[in-house]
Symmetry: C2
Subunit: 583 residues, 2 copies
């Protein structure tokens, strides 16, 4: 029996009603036929996730990976087959440019489908995630020739992609990297060692396209002297067929606390003659190119947080409905533990955080679609600003809360949660990477405070606060939540205005900004998540009245939003007190 069923009802609701997919399609010029087939797409993806990708999740954790002396990696049983079905189904190409074989579906719809892969199997899901990043970096920065040669196979998923940033002494400080690139003919020779390369080597795809940051001879120091190279595992002939092996290999796999079925490789480039690589974008502008892939990757990691929360919640709910233990208040006989108020609190925390993080993440993913469209300049810059602002919030808040939800799920299992057999321990172990990779959450917090609030003098944040205030003042909400709850939200917006002012007035004091940045991140995360919950409830009422959702769905949403307002929103109070007192 699969432990995961895709929550297609809530996904469809958020896409249609909260994100307003129809409006999005019409404003961005995206193909509106997506809307008609949305349910079919979600159902089909859900089936693949449930029937093929989830069943290999736990076995993959137990079996792990093998690497031989030649550096060849064998994935766990069934991984390759599931991946082939994914490629055959065209799931990798949803949001990409039809010019290169993509399907031109909005990114936000592709994101909802990706949510399923990561819920079903995080180790497995990371392979397409990295490929998506490579496609984006190539699409936005590479020459037409490289695009023609590499994009169609990457988009189809026949080839997979990687990001090679980190070295032993260059993690967060990527500018410290030492891998060298030497020009030769129409290409470069790459020499160096990279670590933590996710899906750096494996047997699921015919070829692997590595995007590698390296330094040219005499390049300036730091981030201004790094360039981005496309370095294929197998060289590609002019006719597109696969040629010789490039001079690169996986040296070893890391022993990690989780995602045991995902190969995290130490990669060596150019041990013999130098690995042949092709420049992407301009020389010494590699970091900008990398950010085009990293920003969306950060959103997608936030999405993985949603996936983990959803999966952990489903597992807890099904356990608590079955596990009989003790007589709950109002009952006379022992019954399932879901009856106990403290268990209900844990489940409601999990459910409401999951739904809030989904709405928040999807709304940020929709900004990717707007930001890539042909909207008029002013509107376009506003969407870009919003996307930039929401990215660290989604990455930070949704991955921090995913730790909490996974841990709560384990807690619901009692002693059984601590035993590997139950499976929830794996979810917790897998999830722990989320606050670390694609920029630690400390880095997200600094990005939010430094680049997104201080650098534009609070413009984007104030736009956001204004929009949330408009939401808070909607008459329709007064019937849906209590006056006290609505006041709490309004108070939080007022506090957020104050916090923003404090950040701006202390902007010269980097010690101060750094100390409070994480609290700012969590405060903004909680408040924007609340905004999305209120919006969801408001839209659910309208959708219910027009028979677009069931009475049950509306009622459940109402309970969940009310719980969030009482049990989660108040957290901003402690962040704000810390920000104020440390200022």
């Amino acid at each position: 029996m699969s432990n995961y069923t895709a929550p297609v009802e809530d996904m469809g609701f958020v896409l249609r009603e909260v994100v307003e997919l129809e409006k999005l399609c019409s404003e961005t010029g995206a193909d509106a036929s997506t809307i008609d087939i949305l349910d079919t797409v979600l159902e089909a993806a859900g089936k693949l996730a449930k029937e093929e990708i989830e069943p290999i999740n736990k076995p993959g954790d137990l079996e792990g990976l093998k690497i031989n002396n030649a550096g060849e990696v064998t994935t766990a049983t069934g991984f390759k087959e599931a991946y082939h079905h994914y490629v055959e189904g065209g799931w990798g190409s949803l949001q990409f440019d039809p010019k290169y074989g993509g399907q031109g579906v909005p990114f936000v719809v592709a994101a909802s489908v990706q949510e399923m892969w990561h819920s079903a199997n995080m180790s497995w899901g990371l392979c397409p995630l990295l490929t998506q990043g490579a496609v984006e970096a190539i699409t936005h920065n590479a020459s037409d020739e490289l695009k023609q040669r590499y994009l169609p196979k990457l988009i189809s998923g026949k080839w997979s992609g990687t990001m090679n940033l980190t070295e032993g002494d260059a993690g967060t400080d990527v500018g410290a990297l030492k891998t060298r690139a030497t020009p030769e003919d129409d290409h470069y020779l790459i020499r160096g060692q990279k670590i933590y390369i996710t899906w750096g080597e494996h047997d699921m795809a015919e070829n692997i396209v590595h995007l590698v940051l390296a330094r040219l001879p005499n390049a300036p120091e730091g981030v201004k002297g790094i360039s981005l190279f496309l370095v294929p595992k197998i060289l590609v002939n002019d006719d597109g067929s696969l040629g010789e092996r490039n001079d690169l290999k996986a040296l070893s796999l890391e022993e990690k606390i989780g995602i045991h079925a995902c190969p995290t490789c130490v990669m060596s480039y150019g041990d013999k003659t130098g690995a042949i690589g092709f420049l992407i974008g301009e020389e010494n502008k590699g970091i900008q190119c990398m950010f085009t892939m990293m920003n969306n990757a950060r959103l997608t990691v936030g999405l993985q947080g949603v996936s983990v929360s959803e999966r952990a919640y489903q597992q807890a709910l099904s356990f608590c409905n079955i596990r009989v233990q003790g007589v709950a208040p109002g009952h006379k006989e022992a019954g399932p533990i879901v009856r106990h108020p403290d268990v209900q609190r844990m489940l409601s925390n999990m459910k409401s955080i999951t739904e809030a993080s989904r709405a928040l993440t999807y709304s940020a993913c929709a900004e990717v679609d707007f930001a890539a469209s042909d909207l008029p300049t002013e509107s376009l810059s506003q969407h870009k600003r919003r996307l930039g602002l929401l990215t660290p919030i989604v990455k930070g808040w949704c991955t921090e809360t995913a730790q909490e939800v996974a841990s709560l799920s384990l807690q619901c299992h009692g002693g059984m949660g601590y035993i590997e057999e139950t499976g929830i321990a794996q979810i917790v172990r897998d999830a722990r990477i989320l606050p670390i990779y694609e920029g630690t959450n400390g880095i997200q917090a600094m990005d939010l405070v430094g680049r997104k609030i201080i650098s534009d003098n609070g413009l984007g944040m104030n736009e956001l606060i204004f929009e949330m205030q408009e939401c808070a003042n909607k008459d329709s909400l007064k019937e849906l939540v209590s006056t006290a709850q609505l006041s709490r939200f309004k108070d939080s917006l007022y506090a957020l205005e104050n916090a923003t002012s404090l950040v701006l007035s202390n902007s010269e004091n980097k010690q101060h900004s750094g100390q409070i940045a994480f609290d700012v991140l969590m405060m903004v995360g909680t408040i924007t998540a609340t905004w999305q919950m209120l919006k969801s409830l408001d839209k659910a009422k309208i959708a219910f009245e027009s028979n677009a959702v069931s009475a049950d769905f509306f009622e459940e949403k109402s309970k969940t939003v009310n719980h969030f307002l009482n049990f989660i929103l108040p957290r901003y109070l402690s962040n704000f007190a810390t920000i104020s007192s440390a200022s």
Copy 2:
């Protein structure tokens, strides 16, 4: 190189100045010579922890345990030797009755020594922890004959002890257990299966004394029908020598997310003829007897939280001092990451939580000494009330915060934290059991709200609030913290009064009590921890002025307490808002 050095300076400070060990000895009639040799004891224990018990921690995690077909368990390399040195050093007998070979040292001092074992090696430390519980249950409930026969060997550590409560369908609901006890001659025959038996079988001690909950024929249903039995692995002859094997064995070991070197056994009793057991206390009063061991075990699990936090903090600090990455504000060159403000925030959160949880836990452990003394009735009941009140707070708050501190330590390691090699992943995995065993933290929350606040109509809580108010009003604190910080503490006490009233006025509504119980637990934990921090700072100033601590120590304590007031105390605000809004 050992990854742990016992924090003897802070331990000695808390014992001498915060807990006021001298006063404790004189009021409880404990042997005051402990005070003179305190430093020697702490140094010697610290040496054993650092040099013998810590070095086998990581190897033990990797090697794990072996069980053969006969149910014999082999512990990891070095575990047996370290245990023998522990027994030879008399470390197991510190706090016990000299009548049975104990050393009559106050419990709070023994607790500080135990903190070290669990920091050094949680898997290993659980063996003495369980033995301590068995000694307490036997001391308070068993016949003189059983005491004479079993206590000296358990107290010395030559034999170890276990607690056998849980069965497949009886976890939190211990009253649902099915193990049977049939009277025969001077003993009983025990038949049944128990799960999650920590150190249920191993090769470190000559004998294992199992304390087993079971049902007599025709016993009433539920907890009122369970009795406690002493069931030795090897029967003991009248002359005290070891006789035949009893009819019990370990069937299997659980595969857990952590504490891999600690045998968590499925135990089978009476497969052949019935396991011979001896009644402890009266028939059908087993649950009361079990609670005499469980209450102190709960405190000790809270203490393990302190241990984990200390260990995790030390590891993060040493990593952040070595790891070079990026240029911090105010610097011109790349340097160790400890210079970065967000890293400093994480380290200060870790350090201040660790010291607060130590002071809180030791102060609760001191209540064990008072509660066991010959004080006048009124004073005695006040100490017993305080001990009862603090027990779920210490167990709950110190183990929840230990998760946070362990996770922060992993986060400080960046990508390396996710790799098992660094060792911090093991700390996180090991620590995850703490909120579960000896009563989940949900159960602690219910115990606090139901048995400790509602049942005595707020008496104990109001005594505690009054004492904290007295502390808040001390003139000496005004020079040590800001007016705003002191007001925040006073506000928190006022909120706690309100929260207590809300709990009491809704006491009939068990649904309500259950929903808010966890927030009450965390709120009280944060506030009592703050109280202990303010007390610590006040005492540190006095100690500094009398040269009892160094200027550095006082200054560090001042920074740590100030950080706690700004970054940790504000958390009560969100708990209180939740308690209020859900009421």
